[in-house]
């Protein structure tokens, strides 16, 4: 191998590293940006789905834990991203917590949760939703698979044991 060939090979390697490194770096930055958009959406859905399922099928204590976890995660996401979607989801999470507390007979906790929900939920100007309307909103969204992100069963959902509040 001549000296000239060695130089050419060395320069080829340097050029390859420079081009690949530049492309890889910009790809990595773009991927990271995309993930920063996708991850909160996926996280909101996962945690809301879990809370909805626990609310529907589990006992009050576990449903309450799941609702509080949902609220905690959504509040963290909202604080970090200023995501308005997370704000709406957080409002729904407080309504779910209110329903859990209602089932458990904790009227004060229910009232506080609804107050939080009302502060977070978007509403038409000058129109205040009643407690019943808020609770009905969540039930409708859960039934439509929006409050809970996974679609509820479409074939034989009537057979599954629903949460008392959904009756």
């Amino acid at each position: 191998m001549t000296r000239a060939m060695k130089i050419v090979f060395f320069l080829s390697a340097i050029a390859g590293i420079a081009v690949g490194g530049r492309l890889g770096y910009s790809e990595g930055a773009e991927l990271s940006e995309s993930m920063r958009t996708l991850e909160p959406i996926a996280a909101e859905h996962a945690v809301s789905d879990f809370a909805a399922r626990e609310f529907r099928y589990a006992d009050s204590e576990h449903a309450r834990k799941a609702s509080r976890l949902e609220i905690s995660v959504l509040a963290q996401i909202m604080a970090a991203t200023n995501d308005t979607g997370a704000k709406g989801q957080l409002g729904l999470a407080y309504i779910r917590l209110a329903l859990v507390e209602k089932d458990a007979g904790n009227q004060e906790a229910e009232r506080l949760a609804l107050k939080q929900a009302r502060a977070l939920s978007p509403r038409p100007a000058g129109q205040e939703l009643s407690d019943e309307q808020l609770e009905d909103l969540l039930k409708r969204l859960d039934r439509a698979g929006i409050g809970a992100t996974r679609s509820p069963k479409t074939t034989n959902s009537a057979d599954s044991p629903p949460h008392p509040s959904l009756e």
Binding site: M5, G20, G28, S32, L38, A42, A46, E54, V73
Partner: protein, 169 residues
């Protein structure tokens, strides 16, 4: 003289392509980690770390759900489920404590589906074991009904999409 020139050209091209490929992969990884580490810098360091771990775990959980949910055929669906269970166990081991119930629920759902598949192909003992795993996890999550019927209903909810796609085919 002509042959070494041509050979050298190809070797130099191969070196260029190879080094570019390796550098691309390495730089991508470095850039991703660098940007990820700087994400949510507006929060306190510990809060940002906690949020990053939460988002990473929940995103992985969503992916695992999608992997099994949209497999086109029953055989592929079964294979995806089989691969998904140990993967979820691993995710659970790495996940923050407070998020483990979410992974447990997904594990229970996957076990319920697995039980139904095993039962359909006559593997009764495997079906029983999978069903028991699902029951234990759902019981720990406070589910009021963990009967065989309830588990089958749960599995049906998840198995529906591939059946729809097969029907479309």
């Amino acid at each position: 003289m002509k042959f070494p020139l041509v050979t050298s050209f190809f070797i130099a091209s191969a070196i260029l392509a190879g080094s570019a490929y390796v550098a691309d992969k390495v730089a991508l990884r470095i850039a991703y980690r660098h940007h990820e580490a700087r994400a949510f810098n507006s929060l306190a360091k510990q809060d940002a770390q906690e949020l990053r771990a939460t988002l990473r775990t929940l995103f992985a959980l969503s992916q695992s759900h999608l992997v099994t949910k949209y497999e086109p055929s029953t055989a592929q669906y079964y294979t995806a489920l089989e691969a998904n269970l140990p993967w979820l166990q691993k995710l659970r081991g790495q996940a923050p404590e407070r998020l483990r119930p979410l992974i447990d629920l997904q594990l229970a759902i996957d076990y319920a589906e697995m039980a139904q598949f095993e039962q359909k192909i006559g593997h009764m003992s495997e079906a029983g074991r999978a069903r028991q795993s699902a029951e234990e996890r759902l019981g720990a999550l406070g589910w009021r009904d963990v009967s065989e019927g309830a588990l089958n209903d749960l599995a049906d909810q998840e198995i529906q999409p591939p059946q729809v796609s097969e029907h479309k085919k």
